[in-house]
Symmetry: C2
Subunit: 353 residues, 2 copies
């Protein structure tokens, strides 16, 4: 075995990010790199991780007890190129004193853009339209006045219709999404956060809410309980963290409370939405449609998944942060965290575990 210290990188992460590894003296450090665009096999990771000081992973790599056992006591840092860390057993890291780096913020705009995209796709029948054209059915499409018509986001034809956007979770990505929706003339934005979620009724707008409403030109913004968001919103956008506290936060009760013409968009984590209840809601027309970038059990969503048979469900394969700019910035931040971690420095962005 080499006497050098080693770091293991489970994915090709692009030249710009790789160049940041030049800070590590190669006489002292072995850099073990999976060079392909596909995920490294579990076997490859397990073979290379023993005695590693640092490990860089992506969402598809599970970092659990067994992997940490294999890695051994040398491991100081796990750096994930993602904002979520459901794939990492944080308590297993904590008890070993291993730091966890992640890549928040740099993906805010890319995910907000994709959220707007799904709001528009789901309301405007873009999934069904695209499929019709691909299948050669455009020539036979009855061009009736209401063919493929959907609800219009915002204040409507003459700008006077009240329109409410509801957010489940109202962090940076949600606020960037609201900023992008503001030009559609949004009269009201209501949101839940961890305190308002179970409150007895809507809350008075905070000073921050008032300032945001003014700067974006949105009628009013305030926090409210979950059932109020369900009942009052024309468009519900789910942008909350995953984990046990938000598991199936969108359930049958929530979906039944929604307006018939309302649309549900989820670009955060699949676990937040009870898929079976959503399928029923679409089949029985409790709601108008849905746009999803994340689905429970992904990526194991096969062609016979019940969501995929529903024309009003638009499903994308978790591409929220998939812009070249953003992924490059995430890769660079992940490598910076890794290098800082193995050199015993403060991480640029550390998950407090």
């Amino acid at each position: 075995m080499s006497e050098k210290k080693r770091i293991v990188i489970s994915r090709y992460i692009g030249e710009r990010a790789m160049s940041l590894l030049n800070e590590l003296d190669r006489d002292e450090w072995d850099i073990i790199l999976w060079k392909e665009n596909e995920p490294a096999s579990r076997e490859w990771i397990e073979k290379n991780v023993p005695n590693a000081t640092g490990l860089l992973v992506l969402l598809t790599d599970k970092v659990n007890e067994s992997l940490l056992e294999i890695a051994g006591p040398s491991l100081r840092i796990v750096s994930t190129m993602s904002v979520g860390y459901d794939h990492v057993d944080t308590s297993a890291l904590r008890k070993r004193g291993i730091k966890l780096g992640f890549t928040p913020d740099v993906l805010t705009f890319a995910v907000a853009d994709l959220t707007v995209l799904l709001c528009l796709m789901a309301t405007r029948n873009a999934g069904e339209g695209l499929t019709l054209v691909k299948n050669g059915q455009w020539p036979n499409l009855a061009f009736g006045p209401f063919t493929l018509c959907g609800p219009q986001i915002g204040a409507g034809v003459d700008g006077t219709k009240p329109y409410t956007v509801g957010f489940v979770g109202f962090g940076r990505i949600a606020q960037a999404t609201l900023k992008r929706l503001a030009p559609y003339d949004i009269s009201r934005c209501i949101y839940t956060n961890s305190t308002s979620r179970q409150a007895p009724g809507p809350q008075a707008p905070s000073e921050a809410d008032k300032e945001l409403a003014k700067s974006l030109g949105v009628g009013e913004i305030f926090a409210a309980p979950l059932d109020y968001v369900a009942k009052e919103s024309d468009l519900v956008i789910v942008l909350a963290p995953g984990g046990p506290s938000t598991m199936h936060i969108i359930d049958e009760r929530f979906l039944r409370a929604m307006k018939n013409h309302a649309v549900l968009v989820n670009t955060s984590r699949g676990t937040l939405v009870d898929t079976d209840a959503l399928v029923t809601a679409l089949r029985e027309k409790w709601i108008w449609g849905t746009g999803l970038d994340v689905v429970e059990g992904e990526p194991l969503i096969k062609a016979d998944h019940p969501l995929l048979a529903l024309p009003r469900a638009v499903v994308l394969p978790h591409i929220g942060s998939a812009t070249t700019d953003t992924r490059e910035a995430m890769a660079m931040l992940a490598v910076t965290n890794l290098v800082n971690g193995v050199l015993g420095r403060e991480l640029e962005r550390e998950v407090k575990i």
Copy 2:
């Protein structure tokens, strides 16, 4: 034959619009209505149009010399439920003194929304992503850092990247589109109009340009020649009228001048883009991708159309104005034009022919 005067309506246009016909005394007027959502057959129109005073049509109904001959000298008004009127022979109307009503403005927001949708779909690989998921390929998708990545609209991860949106045509819909793109941080908007198109170089911003830039928070806005828009834009949006003067305005020369990472979106008329040149541009990667709501020769776009084999081409079946709100407003305006026309009053919205 009935001695009543008659109006002919070639499509089911919804209850709210139909109720506006109550202004016509049924002892005096026969209302001949095609009740289905599909287009009326040519045969049905030709059978019913003789001696009509008014005719309401949609884009799929050709109003030409032969139809006007069949209608006879009683016809006073053709009311089309559309903003475009390529399907109407205006000179044939003019020489008979028949008025033409249309339905502009009410569809501005719906088309602007769909234009943003196509900008996002084309840059973010939404067509390919959707197809992958539908075909059950999500489980096998190599989740590499750059899988399905596309260019990011706007100023990028840290908000500092210059980004230019170019418009070919800069009327109401284009300006409403720019308003919706402004939150993505657009440093520059350049546009052609009928005067700047052939000018030797970019023009100084007009007062209106400066005011619009200030109100939207866009860095600068100015008119420029067509080749300047091609060369300088990261995103080109075609929103100009159809007809001979704009036929194939986007041709091989334009596409070759575009940036390799740029995207072309057309939500106006298919005739503005040379489809063969666009197919070559995508195959040979002169440009990054395209989003189209309109295609030359539509709706006869079959499954073997060369555009549909290209993963970076997103094609929707002309649903720009397809929201329930907008189509209802268009139907109501079309009926108002029709009623005003047959009663000899000023039209609400008349095409000056």
